[in-house]
């Protein structure tokens, strides 16, 4: 092999190697997590359980991950509903400080949470999609801590298709309502409708009702 040809081969190899490495360097590996907490009506009593989920999520999130906690109330499609949000620093020590601060903010919210008259889950989902798309993490996960019963106030339009491509949507602690006990089909159809809505939007739907077993969360 002549010298120029050899140099060209080496250069081509290096370019390919760098390209392969570079392609992987720019691919985000972090996680974006958005937790929606239903504060409407009687479900507001369940809010203390949400704190446990937040703490579990905080302990599992890594530096560079993003986390936001927002409440679901009458009008959820707004930044005002975000209780706490953070993108953890690259350095582990700073990320730990941020986690502690986050936990204290959430604790304050749990103590002061007031029940809302209506439940705008879709608005919250839209807000979550917007937040996570802006952060553009490698993995996007939306947790909905709710009974999944949407109850919109008059004048709110939420018949909007959701763009959930690449999103994992997890419904947590989906409690049964009094009417569900009379007719369980209501509960099942409610979950099925949410599942089809999410999957139609390109997302992946999951339900975790036993919050003492959150092993599958963020894994």
């Amino acid at each position: 092999m002549s010298r120029p040809t050899r140099y060209r081969s080496v250069a081509a190899g290096l370019v390919l190697l760098l390209g392969a490495c570079g392609g992987q360097v720019h691919m985000p590996r972090n996680t974006g997590l958005y937790l929606l907490i239903d504060t409407s009506g009687t479900y507001n009593r369940q809010v203390t359980k949400a704190e446990q989920i937040i703490l579990v999520a905080l302990s599992r999130l890594q530096p560079s991950d993003s986390f936001a906690v927002a409440r679901i109330d009458t009008a959820s499609f707004t930044e005002k509903n975000i209780i706490a949000k953070a993108t953890f620093d690259d350095r582990p020590s700073t990320a730990n400080q941020q986690k502690r601060a986050f936990a204290s903010r959430v604790e304050k919210f749990i103590d002061e949470s007031a029940p809302a008259p209506y439940t705008d889950i879709t608005g919250g989902l839209l807000q979550a999609i917007e937040f996570l798309k802006e952060k553009n993490p490698g993995r996007k996960e939306i947790l909905i801590f709710s009974d999944m019963k949407e109850d919109l106030a008059k004048g709110y339009v939420r018949d909007i298709p959701l763009d959930l491509k690449g999103f994992d949507v997890v419904a947590l602690n989906v409690t049964k309502l009094r009417t569900d006990n009379f007719d369980p089909r209501e509960y099942m159809s409610r979950l099925d409708s949410w599942k089809s809505k999410v999957e139609k939007g390109g997302g992946h739907w999951r339900v975790i009702n036993d919050i003492d077993r959150l092993d599958g969360l963020l894994q």
Binding site: N30, L58, Q62
Partner: protein, 493 residues
């Protein structure tokens, strides 16, 4: 043409099958000779090819063995040269250190000997003077007593007694002095003995070194002559060195892994915990790079100290430059070790912070409790962080041995593999001949009916020819006897 259409050549498929089989057998019978030739040609060609390949591999193995032997002997010669060189340096040191003071020793010995000689001369016993009185006494004794000879004799006797006692005193005094001189010689004797003992020890040490050099030179000579014994010794030594160095390197690798664990976590604080290069975290790569740099510095330090000889460029540097390089590499190592100690401390701090955060998130509420013995683990981690880089410096020694012995071990493995391959190819090549015979027999198996008929026909022909031959023989022996049967045959016809 399908099987169904073939079986339809007669109205009865079984008959069709029999006809087809018969045709096939006939076709195979007529093609038998050609088929046998083809089978034989293929198997012979394969066999020859395999045998050729076997010869080629065997030649390659021989060449590799020769090359391996050459490399082994070269490495052995180099190692032996180093040993002999070191022995000569030691001899030189001994000679310089001990025998350099030989003139001083010689002077001390000469002075001692001169002193001893002087003392010995002084200590020589002075012979008593010859008695001058004896003749005088005889003359006086011959004198007449009247002339007062008796009195004179008495006076002489008294004088003699007095002189004797004085002489005895002098003699005792002189003897005492001589003994004192001899006593004074004792330290000189001892000094001489010690000096000679020291000289003897030095000479013996040099002799021992000379014997060792002789032994090494003998082995070196064997290697230069390329004797099998030397190759065998070097080969087995290489294997031993390979396994021992591999073991030590694995221990060093474990040490490097511990070192890596110590610094990987705090490195995330410096380069970020979530950036990746390829599939690996940048923090991990940074920690690995630090360890690799430490090992490299260790290698350079060892090279500068001329303990290892992996880089001829460093060995060839001037002493001044080598000393500079030594100092630079040592300072870099020291800095690295200090950085590692700091990182190890940082690791402990981060660990505590993480534990406190986890406890808070779990809601344990035990964040305030502090372990009072925590400083022990912190100090131990810092100590390990500081010591491990220096310990890793010594990896250079087994690494050099490993690299050198690896060449031999790989050569031996390659030779073994090629030998086995050659044998296998030879066996396959020979087997091909038998495979050809077997294939011919298998070809003949469905042709047993025509072959049987052929053999019967051949046997009949042979017996007929034999009969004719015997008749001709009889006719030649008795022509008249043959007329009767001929006439009878004609009458019959």
């Amino acid at each position: 043409m399908s099987m169904t259409s073939l079986l339809a050549i007669t109205p009865w498929p079984a008959l069709s099958a029999v006809v087809l089989l018969a045709l096939l057998v006939v076709a195979l019978y007529f093609a038998r000779r050609t088929a046998h030739q083809a089978i034989r040609a293929v198997t012979d060609a394969l066999g020859r090819g395999l045998r050729l390949a076997s010869h080629a591999v065997a030649r390659g193995e021989e060449k590799l063995a020769a090359r391996n032997r050459e490399v082994l002997l070269s490495a052995g010669r180099e190692a032996k040269e180093r040993i002999v060189e070191r022995e000569f340096v030691r001899v030189g040191d001994t000679v310089r250190k001990d025998l350099a003071s030989y003139p001083t020793l010689h002077r001390a010995l000469s002075e001692s000997i001169v002193r001893i000689e002087e003392d010995q001369e002084k200590a020589v016993e002075v012979p008593p003077e010859a008695p001058g009185w004896v003749q005088a006494v005889k003359v006086i004794a011959n004198l007449d007593a009247k002339n007062g000879g008796t009195e004179i004799l008495e006076d002489i006797h008294k004088s003699m007694v007095r002189a004797h006692s004085e002489a005895m005193d002098d003699y005792r005094k002189a003897s005492g002095e001589r003994h004192a001189l001899l006593r004074k010689m004792m330290p000189d004797w001892r000094r001489i003995q010690e000096t000679l003992g020291r000289v003897n020890k030095n000479v013996e040490s040099v002799l021992e070194r000379a014997l060792a050099i002789d032994r090494h030179m003998q082995e070196y000579d064997d290697m230069v002559r390329g004797e099998d014994r030397a190759v065998s010794i070097l080969s087995s030594s290489s294997l031993v060195y390979f396994f021992v160095s591999a073991l030590v390197l694995s221990v060093a690798a474990a040490g490097a892994a511990i070192n890596f664990t110590l610094i990987a976590r705090p490195m995330a604080e410096m380069v970020g915990g979530t950036s990746f290069i390829g599939n690996f975290r940048t923090a991990d790569i940074a920690a690995l790079v630090i360890i690799m740099v430490e090992i490299s510095m260790g290698l350079f330090l060892m090279e500068s100290l001329r303990i290892t000889r992996l880089f001829p460029v460093i060995s060839a540097l001037s002493d001044k430059m080598r000393r500079r390089m030594m100092a630079v590499t040592f300072v870099i190592l020291l800095l690295m070790a200090s950085i590692e100690a700091g990182l190890a401390y940082m690791r402990e701090v981060l660990l505590q912070d993480e534990l406190a955060t986890s406890a808070l998130l779990r809601g344990d509420g035990v964040t305030g409790t502090a372990n009072e013995h925590l400083w022990i683990t912190t100090a131990a981690q810092m100590g390990m962080g500081f010591i491990l880089p220096f310990a890793l410096v010594f990896v250079a020694i087994p690494l050099e041995t490993f690299v050198h012995s690896l060449r031999t071990v790989l050569g031996l493995l390659a030779i073994g593999f090629m030998r086995a391959l050659s044998l296998l190819l030879r066996v396959l090549g020979n087997g091909m001949r038998h495979v050809g015979t077997l294939a011919e027999r298998i070809y003949d198996l469905p042709l047993f009916v025509p072959l049987w008929i052929e053999s019967r026909v051949a046997a009949n022909q042979a017996s007929h020819e034999q009969e004719l031959a015997s008749i001709r023989e009889l006719a030649s022996m008795n022509p008249v006897a043959m007329e009767e049967p001929r006439a009878w045959q004609e009458a019959q016809s």
